[in-house]
Symmetry: C2
Subunit: 388 residues, 2 copies
């Protein structure tokens, strides 16, 4: 393992009806609240009314910012920052999926910063030393944003998706009521399941030694997704399945499986480049790119892919080489994602080879990306071409 610091003070409030904890949790941070949400599904579901009811009970002064996009935009972040400054708000309540929470984090870090918040997101500015406190009510399982300090923001002026991480933007509390995720449509449910698995992969394929416990915990999450997602996509209102997937999503990216390992993240970087050029759902992009990335990895270092096959997809290793097992593991992963209805080709989203160079460019944050198997620009271009 690498030396590491782990400090995750987010308070999880998990279970049916936990929205009613808002009136107890918020006052510790102030009563002037920016209420942030997405496309309005929370109004249809009745969640909006419940949240407003809680805020009214504590006589909160509420400023709303709705319409946060699925790939949240810098322009929206800037709007949020302006609203907090103008109205002297002291708390952000993010109600929605990972996009809304990611936007909240960039807003939170941007408020006390003098310059352009994009400098924080792209790590051009110094790391934030303070932020407006955030609380969340999560409505989609998958991103894990409810219990980490990560934020991914898209700048459409430059077709760039960038991310930052700061412990200052860790939600102070997150409300996880599985019932609130029961209205998530089938395709978004699939994307969430894919994203959870990819978060495990990015940390499972690490460049460190001696992390058997972290790997086994990752495998525990993967097996639970593989067991639950197929049942869930055919029974979207099932509370038990929603409950399990919600916890899966939180634990897949809260620092737990990443303790003491140097993670990879190449798949995410490539996908971010794709969805910064073409506005496609993140989980969909991941389902397309990850297997091609894994094939590249298996050609260089097959052993961990083989381990994944044996421990997660129950492959019988008898008489097989790591390369053979790895190839079967990738086949099993593809078959699993196909079985729940995940996309397999960029052309499923109408994307052709026109922007391959721009996407390749955008993925290359450095000369090489990835850690378990570092990728050159040529490698990334090849993975994108195969993904068409």
């Amino acid at each position: 393992m690498e030396s590491f610091a782990f400090h995750n003070p987010t308070k999880l409030l998990f279970g049916k009806g936990q929205v009613s904890s808002l009136k107890k949790e918020i006052p510790a941070y102030g009563k002037r609240v920016l209420l942030l949400y997405g496309g309005g599904s929370i109004k249809k579901s009745g969640l909006y009314d419940k949240v407003i009811g809680e805020l009214n009970e504590i006589d909160a002064y509420v400023v709303e910012l709705g319409g946060v996009e699925p790939n949240p935009r810098l322009t929206t972040v800037n709007q949020g920052i302006a609203l907090i400054r103008e109205n002297q708000l002291d708390f952000i309540l993010a109600v929605g999926g990972g996009s809304v929470i990611d936007a909240a984090k960039a807003i939170a870090a941007g408020v006390p910063y003098d310059g352009d918040v994009w400098d924080i997101v792209t790590s051009k500015a110094k790391a934030p030393s303070s932020a407006v406190p955030i609380g969340t009510v999560i409505t989609i399982a998958g991103t894990g944003s409810e219990m980490n300090g990560n934020s991914v923001i898209t700048n459409w002026e430059t077709n760039t998706k960038a991310f930052f991480n700061s412990n200052h933007v860790l939600p102070r509390f997150s409300i996880l009521d599985p019932e609130l995720t029961s209205t998530v449509p089938r395709d978004q449910t699939v994307y969430g399941s894919v994203d959870i698995m990819a978060h495990v992969f990015e940390q499972y394929f690490h460049a460190s030694s001696n992390a058997p416990l972290q790997e086994r915990i990752g495998e525990a999450i993967l097996r639970t997704v593989i067991e639950t997602a197929p049942k869930l996509v055919n029974d979207l209102n099932n509370y038990d399945y929603r409950e399990v997937m919600l916890l899966n999503g939180t634990l897949a990216l809260n620092g737990l499986t990443g303790m003491g390992v140097n993670p990879d993240w190449a798949t995410h970087l490539i996908e971010h480049a794709v969805s910064a050029v073409h506005d496609i759902p993140h989980g969909g992009g991941i389902a397309i790119i990850a297997p091609h990335w894994m094939e590249h990895v298996a050609a260089v270092r097959p052993e961990k892919v083989a381990q994944l096959g044996v421990r997660v997809f129950d492959l019988d290793p008898t008489g097989k080489t790591d390369a053979e097992l790895a190839s079967e593991a990738i086949q099993a992963l593809r078959a699993f994602w196909a079985s729940i209805g995940a996309p397999a080709k960029l052309s499923d989203y109408g994307i052709d080879d026109k922007e391959i160079e721009l996407m390749t460019e955008r993925a290359m944050l450095a000369e090489q990306i990835g850690n378990y198997v570092p990728l050159t620009k040529d490698d990334v271009r090849t993975i994108l071409r195969k993904s068409l």
Copy 2:
């Protein structure tokens, strides 16, 4: 799952040389420090000098309390409380194993309390609403006390071992340097491994439904112990094995596998009764009692014991009933503990049937104990008799 709140803000600082973080971490809580430690092994190992060096660098005012016992005593806790009050100390640095940290927690909660601290430990007083902040440097893997709010204290006047749990006594930070655990002797290393497994069992055998992820994470910890402990006990100075066992211990009892489930804890209650009457090592007592407890459980509800056998001990379920699998699982557990040199009978510690009634009495905190399979007084007496 049950509804739950999870809030674990302990900062882990894991890796070689992390003791040098003390000078950065402590000043946030004050510089008047109670330095708490055990039998003096930290003086032999040189750790004491390193810690004092760190404290001197920040010009801390240090009052020492050494000699905290393996089953820490109420009398020692009272000494600590008096020292903090007399010297107006504002921070407790606990350097040692779980016993030292448990004592620190009772001291921390006792200082702001007017009455007898034993009332807090036995939950006769209201739950603590504040406590002196604690930091820890852990020297033995096993108890998990470095990342939870649990404390077990023994009152020798009444032969009673009692425990309390409070988020107020969660360590603010814990230093986990695997190298500091490399001088732990073989028997203590075995006890730690047993205790880690028992902590998983207490939460794995829960009385709730629909917790597949928590169970799989428990299995991940168990498999990692089973893989690592036999190598470690034959190679006590191996850094890699110590590293893995240290993280195992922390994650086995930090709230993670207990999310949303109603745990059992009967084995621990019975063992606490044994070691409150006879001063034996906790992990040794657990190794003796747990298999007999599990046999009782298997007779009533074999299915989870069977699952343990298949998923953790790799039993082949083909053509077998749950009862058969459960019986094989318990055999496998016994064989594993015997293989690392854990005791199997109370008579290994010279304990005979003389105090069976007193131990039975002490274990019965209520009419029934345990949740997965509730135990009556007769059940507990039987388990103790079988353990002789």
